[in-house]
């Protein structure tokens, strides 16, 4: 076999193998979240598409306290709420997610947040989506509202058009999406960059709602 043919075959095998492995990854997930009342299989299934609503049992132990939450400051307005500041949810268990509607990974998280919201809204859970646009075209509030309607975002949206909160909350490690859980005392009890860990998010919420901060 000539050198170029060998290279072509190697590349084809490499890509084929990698894509196959990726396709199979859900079946051998290595999720290691320690969540009370869930089996390894349930953990492995946590990132699959949302179907029928299910409620996750609370964490067995208190989630680590990661310190006080920063204020939401110099916002450019709110959508889907009569409130006009972070004060309206003080004392409540609150999920704060930094997102932008043009972000593929952000929109992947939304069905899971919708399920968690449906499961725990009546128990006192609040969600605030802090919309921090990545590009100019994502800055228009009309476009944000249309996207929220299309994506099923029913919780209040804080407009962080200048990304001041995006920077002050995340420091040098700034990513979309980033999800925080705030307890009743205003302390951060969960911090996750990117997609995933939905079962841990719900278990943390359930723990805080059941046991308090």
């Amino acid at each position: 076999m000539s050198r170029s043919r060998f290279a072509a075959v190697s590349v084809a095998v490499f890509f084929g193998g990698a894509v196959t492995l990726f396709q199979l990854r859900d079946t051998d997930s290595t999720a290691t979240v320690e969540v009370a009342g869930t089996s390894a299989d349930e953990n492995a299934a946590q990132d699959e598409p949302v179907s029928a609503p299910t409620t996750t049992a609370p964490l067995e132990t208190a989630p680590e306290n990661l310190g006080p939450v920063p204020e939401l400051v110099q916002l450019d307005g709110w959508l889907q709420t009569d409130g006009d500041s972070f004060d309206t949810v003080k004392g409540e268990v609150t999920i704060v997610q930094f997102w932008t509607y043009g972000c593929y990974n952000c929109t992947n998280t939304l069905p899971h947040l919708q399920e968690i919201y449906a499961n725990h809204k009546d128990d006192g859970l609040e969600i605030i989506g802090v919309h921090s646009p990545e590009f100019e075209r994502e800055e228009d509030p009309v476009g944000i509202q249309e996207a929220a309607d299309r994506l099923g975002v029913s919780w209040p949206i804080a407009l962080d058009t200048q990304k001041k909160n995006f920077r002050s909350w995340q420091g040098a490690r700034r990513f979309w999406p980033r999800t925080f859980i705030i307890d009743q005392n205003g302390d951060i009890r969960f911090d996750k960059i990117g997609e995933g860990k939905y079962q841990e998010i719900e278990a943390t919420v359930a723990y805080l709602l059941e046991n308090g901060a």
Binding site: R3, S4, F6, A7, A8, S10, V11, F14, F15, A18, V19, L21, F22, R25, S29, T30, D47, G102, Y104, N105, N108, E134, F135, E136, R137, G171, A172, R173, F175, W176, P177, D191, K192, I193, G194, E195, G196, K197
Partner: protein
């Protein structure tokens, strides 16, 4: 690690990877018969710079430095083949890699999101995870470098200079855009062109 590599590979053609893919493709093409070494230097600088930035130890570099890195790379890859071609192309790869590490906004899926969440406390393990993910993301470029190495030398000799000028031109345009403060618009445009 396989999941992490697979997630990187799956995002290789996503809009969020274009910011990395465009300069990466430019240095690989312009590296000509040293494509592997040029891309290797690019990836080493990219991974190290991204690791330091994503872990929060350094912030995004000033536009002037980022643009200068790209212009340096552009100047070096357009030079013809000579005694010091390998060294010049490697330096070009490092310049472009450092600059790209400052511009890259990766897709943050399940696996890489977990890596990023813990990157500031993971130490060397985090660096290894960054290598695995980035190799997945840049697998098409690595394949291209391999293919160019396997290509007949007569073929690469014929189009080599044109590839050098093409790659250098792309790097120079990107560098000038960054220095002029147009990088956001360029990245936005790349996203729009590649969104489907």
């Amino acid at each position: 690690m396989l999941n992490l590599f697979g997630e990187g590979l799956a995002t290789a053609f996503f809009p969020c990877t274009l910011v990395l893919a465009v300069p990466g493709l430019a240095v690989t093409l312009a590296g000509r018969r040293f494509a592997g070494a040029t891309l290797g230097a690019f990836l080493a600088a990219l991974i190290l710079g991204s690791w330091l930035r994503f872990a929060g130890w350094i912030d995004v570099m000033p536009s002037l430095i980022t643009g200068a890195g790209l212009l340096l790379a552009a100047a070096l890859v357009t030079r013809g083949d000579g005694d010091r071609s390998l060294v010049m192309r490697a330096i070009a790869g490092v310049g472009a890699g450092v600059a790209t590490g400052s511009l890259w906004r990766p897709c943050v899926g399940i696996e890489f999101g977990e890596v990023l969440t813990n990157l500031d406390t993971a130490g060397p393990v985090g660096l290894v995870q960054m290598i695995v993910y980035t190799v997945g993301v840049t697998a098409p470029l690595i394949a291209l470098a391999g293919a160019s190495h396997a290509a007949p030398s007569t073929w690469s000799d014929r189009i080599g200079p044109a590839l050098g000028w093409f790659g250098g031109g792309v790097l120079a345009l990107l560098g000038l855009a960054v220095i002029a403060g147009l990088d956001e618009r360029v990245i936005n445009r790349l996203f729009q062109l590649s969104s489907f």
